[in-house]
């Protein structure tokens, strides 16, 4: 199967997952919101569905590892300090901006939310600028 069809199929599964969560649980499949709620939500019911969704997510990772281990790529960051900085930015930024690739990029854009379209363009732009700096300014690749 050509790579773009596999990517399309993967995307369709993500869309199906987000649709199931909306239909049955009435929730938005924004991973940063679901994960962040583990820190900010105190009630048992709020905690339970979030933890279960994330367990499923990690469990799916184990399925990937078992059947298609090459899909779990190796980290590209050059060191631990780099990874910590990236993680802090992703965690803080997604809470401040109220969403990430899934919540804004898929769920928000799917219903045409202006906030989500602007957010998606913004994080794509700063992500691209960062990769440009890493690869073409600091990394010396032309």
């Amino acid at each position: 199967m050509p790579p773009f069809l596999i990517a399309l199929l993967g995307g369709a599964l993500i869309g199906l997952s987000a649709s199931l969560l909306l239909l049955f649980n009435g929730r938005i499949a924004g991973i940063s919101g679901i994960a962040g709620g583990l820190l900010s939500q105190r009630t048992r019911a709020e905690w339970a569905w979030r933890a279960t969704f994330l367990l499923g997510l990690v469990g799916g990772g184990f399925l990937l590892r078992a059947f298609w281990p090459q899909l779990l790529g190796a980290p590209v960051a050059p060191g631990a300090a780099w990874v910590v900085a990236a993680g802090l930015l992703v965690g803080f930024g997604t809470r401040l901006g109220n969403g990430c690739t899934s919540g804004h990029g898929v769920c928000g854009v799917a219903r045409g939310a202006r906030r989500s379209i602007v957010a998606t363009m913004t994080f794509m732009a700063t992500g691209a600028a960062t990769v440009f700096l890493i690869r073409h300014v600091l990394g010396g690749e032309s």
């Binding site: 990517a7 599964l13 990690v58 990937l64 799917a110």
Partner: protein, 151 residues
């Protein structure tokens, strides 16, 4: 009970979709963001596939009076673009470009057992915790914004 099952199944499907789509491979994510270099446009099809499924389905689902296992759908948020949204998305994009991981793929990649992935996830939760602390320190009398809100 059953609402937990559907949440777990949704999480599992989400991870499979991320993996098949290539989002759990940081090198490919950086390749997708590398517009001026050897740009790999494949990951655009992940978003395309997700939107092609979720846009019509979520529209249909929201025509129901309520979700199957919950009392109500989340209210549609305001369309207002503010500085918090822009700053948050900008910071997130920098972190995404630095490591090639956004939150979902990082969590799914915990299964790889790689120390750096675990370190990224712990740091990500650290950043979320820092955000909560920063919010509380800015507005000590008002209610902190909870995770109930959505994009």
């Amino acid at each position: 009970m059953s609402a937990l099952w559907t949440a777990g199944v949704a999480g599992l499907l989400f991870a499979l979709g991320l993996g098949l789509g290539g989002m759990t491979d940081p090198a490919r994510v950086q390749g997708f963001l590398d517009f001026t270099g050897a740009w790999d446009p494949t990951l655009a099809f992940v978003m395309g596939g997700a939107l092609a499924v979720h846009a019509p389905l979520s529209w249909l689902i929201r025509r129901r009076s309520a979700p199957v296992l919950a009392p109500a759908f989340p209210s549609l948020s305001s369309s207002q673009v503010d500085r918090r949204l822009l700053a948050g998305a900008a910071l997130f994009g920098v972190g995404w470009g630095l490591a090639g991981y956004c939150p979902g793929p990082a969590l799914a990649s915990l299964a790889s057992g790689t120390g750096l992935v675990l370190l990224f996830v712990v740091s990500m939760f650290g950043g979320m915790w820092l955000f909560g602390w920063w919010e509380r320190s800015r507005a000590p009398t008002s209610q902190p914004q909870g995770g109930l809100s959505h994009p």
